[in-house]
């Protein structure tokens, strides 16, 4: 049994085969998530959601760095990245859940207990990554479980198991964090100077259990560059509520004295 389990998903070795999406759907029996031609390159999945727990992104970018050999007039690259729930160290959905349905597991992941969730929808607006969502018509919130059932049985998550290129690596958080740094150093050495690890350690999220090696800026992957856990806003909001309450009482007193 691992403790502090993690994903390291590497865009530079992903081939966009979507085996992770399929494996996730199959293992977790996730329902169909819409059959739409998106027009977004080869990505008709479009985003993570209640019924999409792995999402392979297809980026068509001008190649700003890297050893491209052909068509130097229009330097171009096709980048793929399999997005997933970040399993934040400080998790917005977990903190916001009023039923205690969302819990931290013994492997450090964040799990929505479907038998407790009552579908209030507050986790949906509390996730700084836009991952968890309410499933219709089921009514409850769903997201990646980190294959907690498989992990409990000593198996690795279905997406990592299915990945044919080891773009999705599964292991210990500390080890993978180090592996990410090593990989980025190697990519820099090979000319991909815009390679970086996406793991927001500097913000109130405090790092994630699902890190990414990406080329270019996080914005292009719709990864928030500086995500914050919404509980940091509580203190000022409650202070405002209490001060306003006192003002309202004073005003009502004044009105009756008038």
């Amino acid at each position: 049994m691992t403790h502090k389990a993690a994903f390291l998903t590497d865009a530079t070795v992903c081939i966009g085969c979507k085996a992770c999406e399929v494996a996730c759907k199959e293992w977790n029996e996730v329902p169909e998530d819409g059959l739409v031609w998106s027009g977004f390159s080869y990505d008709n999945t479009r985003a993570l959601g209640a019924s999409t727990w792995r999402h392979v992104m297809f980026l068509e970018q001008p190649a700003t760095a890297g050893p491209q050999q052909v068509d130097m007039e229009n330097p171009f690259r096709w980048v793929f990245l399999s997005n997933v729930c970040k399993h934040c160290v400080n998790s917005g959905c977990l903190e916001s859940c009023p039923t205690g349905a969302i819990v931290r597991t013994d492997v450090g992941s964040v799990l929505v207990q479907s038998d407790v969730c009552n579908g209030c929808g507050y986790c949906v607006v509390s996730c700084p990554f836009g991952v968890v969502d309410k499933r219709h018509p089921d009514g409850r919130a769903f997201k990646c479980t980190f294959c907690y059932d498989r992990q409990s049985a000593g198996m690795i998550p279905a997406c990592a198991k299915a990945c044919p290129t080891q773009s999705i690596r599964f292991g210990q958080l500390d080890e993978l964090r180090e592996a990410g740094a090593v990989r980025v150093a190697e990519l820099h050495h090979r000319g991909y100077t815009d390679a970086q690890v996406y793991d927001p350690l500097e913000t109130s999220v405090g790092g994630t259990h699902a890190m990414f090696v990406i080329l270019g800026q996080p914005d292009a992957y719709n990864l928030p560059p500086a995500p914050e856990i919404p509980t940091i806003y509580l203190k000022s909001a409650w202070t405002s509520a209490l001060v306003s309450a006192l003002v309202v009482v004073a005003l009502v007193c004044a009105a009756f004295l008038f």
Binding site: D33, R46, C127, R135, R140, L234, F256
Partner: protein
Amino acid sequence: MPAGDNPAGSIHPKASEARLDAIRNEASSTGKVVTGAGRANVDYDPNRPIAGAQDYYGQGVLKPPTWTWEVPLYFFVGGISGVSSVIAFVGHLFHADPQMLRLALWIALVGTVLCPVLLISDLGRPTRFLNMLRVFKWRSAMSMGSWILSGFGGFAFLALAINELIHYGIQIPFLPLLQWPVEFFSAVTGLLLASYTGVLLGATAIPVWHENRLLLPAHFLTSGLGGSAAILELSGFLLPATQVIGFMAAGLETVVGIILELRHGRVSAPLHHGKSGVTMRLAGGLEGPVALLIRILWHSHTSARYAAAICFLLGSVSSRYAWIWAGRASAHDPQALFEEQHAAMAAAKSRA
């Protein structure tokens, strides 16, 4: 499959092989494609990448609120109901008209019946509403709200029950003594009920909501204050006290409107543009300057007070909807989020 399960909503009715062929033909002949996801007329230039480094095909980073029509209405009803208990308690302290205080307690009670009905019907699994009360979490505004609403419900019911018993002259020992603490706690929980909804929106990941986290609790509380006085006035209690409260609430809402108008930047765009922006401005106008001007210009006219009260109530209820719609628009705009977070990163860098 209803909308909301994925960003584009439902399965496109034309998602078929025939449609794919039609799209291919269309693309080869015109160079333009109308996609199934509703991104109409994407300019297709084979020589240039279609996704920039800006965002992922213009899709929102965040998930929009899934709340249905009941939730903004709950904000409105909860605000009025909560502040009514404050008016009842303070009015009692200052020996105000007992008939009006009785009505205020009734308004509070009706609110405590309506609010849970509205909230529970919004839940994805309504039968599990009691799961809200299996934990108490300071760090979840939704959890705090569940407890506040439950507490308020109990105190508002007791306050009304005691008042009715006294009203009908039923003698029970210690009842008048018990009345004061019960009314006090119903006022305290009422204040929390009317203001926590602002905290609920303010402490989320949605940029336009958390940017206004200081304003929202004050805004919602003031709205509840004016709404409560408006209902009392419309019920015939045209007292100086309700006039003064209505005047002050409209004045404060005017200030809120001015603050919102002065907000600029991409994050605040939903406050000014689109469905949310138009509704926000109309609502703010009604509960702010319009209600205020009516009260100033025709302060001695009964019908003008009714008009001001109706304006305030209409503005108040529609502004709650505008805030939810603004949150949706904010979640759908990736550039608002990036602008906010890059500014925060730049600020952090300059501090270091």
